[in-house]
Amino acid sequence: MLSRFANPARFVRVSAALLPWCAGVSIALILLGLYLALIASPPDYQQGEAVRIMYVHVPSAWMALNVYLFVAAASAVALVWRHPLAEVAARAAAPIGACFTFVCLTTGSLWGRPMWGTWWVWDARLTSVLVLFFLYLGYIALVNGFDDPARGSRAGSLLAVVGVVNLPIIKFSVDWWNTLHQPASVLRLGKPTIALSMLAPLLVMASGFTVLFVTLLLIRMRTDLKQRRIRALQLDRLTPAPAPPHTESGLPARPVAAREGI
């Protein structure tokens, strides 16, 4: 149990060493991805240049889902083993996932407009991402909904686990709903056939996003730990040094020396 008091020195040290490398690699990968996506890849024979939106839309969709799975896994670890850092990781990751989901939705809409004439397409995949976005907002709102941050993290962890159990059910029900109300076939956001030359930018952008996620996660986790340190220091400054040990008549005061030993 005492590990809960342990100072997360190891994590702070490791993340300090990792951070510059992660930042550098993510920037390099994303720049390479942008070059491949915008310049070094051919336009699609059907969609022309608009297909380039896919190189941002699809990787952010992958990240949206994978970050939520990360949050759920970290939450499960936090609930089962009460490991303090797992809660910190889950709380730090969720806003990043929400940003990826938002990017996915907006680029999806920007892609739908020229292709199918409407800003929003009730396509099964896009709709699932929309529901996932609300799951993220629910988690973030719950974690910040309590005065006591520790209480918020624990409640959020439980919600994340409940959410991940519901994810496949939601995905199934949206697909079921989509086939039920099959819009005109032209509206179907078919997956364009991915030529090899298109795969490269996709994978590079995806890995760039992943390393970016790790970088932001480390920064936000370190911030969370610093915030706790701040609260501890402020609390410590406010609580006055307690009165000398209570020496009520007849009751021997606890030998102070003995207590210092802990």
Partner: protein
């Protein structure tokens, strides 16, 4: 199990004393459904087309309305501590409260829904399916809602937070519930949707009480 029925009976007794809550839920359901024709227009064929969706969304929102009454009163007056300390496993205690909530909100919604179906021109043939889908669906709404209600105990602005947590989780019951009625209306076969709804209920019945219990334990720490 010691006190399970006693807990359900006590909660129902309290619900009767504050029968305003159930009346509020029913009034909200009626009001919401009646408002739609003012927005969509009275043309019968248009209304009939969207009737399943209107009825189910209104029922879902009405059920959502009284969710925070499930654990909050006991949390505030200290009864929740005693329930945690009781011989009744906390999962069953949570289930008891969810059952009581369903009987005082979901069940009446399902029973009065045919009367409202007339207002939105639902085909008479689809009425039985409407009631069955609500009877199967509203318990799932109470079960999932129970988890969210327990999670938000002690949170600031519990009402708003509760609905934000619960709405994405209500998508599956809504899709299958409204889908069953529409399948019946368009001459299709509603059994698939109803079976899926029943599957959701079975899963929620098995998992939700324990998740709610874990949340209650967090709240009474």
């Amino acid at each position: 199990m010691p006190g399970f029925l006693g807990l359900v009976r006590r909660d129902l007794q309290l619900a009767l004393h504050h029968s305003g809550d159930t009346a509020l839920v029913l009034a909200f359901f009626v009001l919401t459904v009646v408002l739609f024709p003012f927005g969509i227009g009275p043309e019968p064929d248009v209304l009939a087309r969207v009737a399943p969706g209107i009825l189910w969304v209104a029922a879902l929102l009405a059920a959502l309305l009284s969710l925070d009454r499930m654990f909050l009163p006991d949390y505030e007056d200290g009864s929740l501590d005693l329930i945690v300390l009781s011989r009744l496993p906390l999962g069953l205690a949570a289930l008891a409260k969810i059952v009581a909530h369903w009987i005082s909100s979901g069940l009446p919604l399902a029973l009065i829904s045919p009367a409202l179906a007339v207002v939105v021109d639902l085909e008479p043939g689809a009425m039985p399916i409407l009631v069955i889908s609500l009877l199967l669906g509203t318990p799932t709404l109470s079960l999932i809602g129970g988890v969210a209600a327990a999670l938000t105990l002690g949170a600031r602005r519990q009402g708003v937070l509760l609905s934000l947590l619960v709405l994405p989780l209500y998508v599956p019951p809504l899709v299958f519930g409204a889908g069953a009625i529409e399948a019946q209306e368009t001459g299709g076969d509603p059994r698939a949707d109803l079976l899926l709804l029943a599957a959701l209920l079975a899963a929620a019945l098995a998992l939700a009480p324990w998740a709610a219990a874990a949340a209650v334990r967090q709240a009474t720490e």
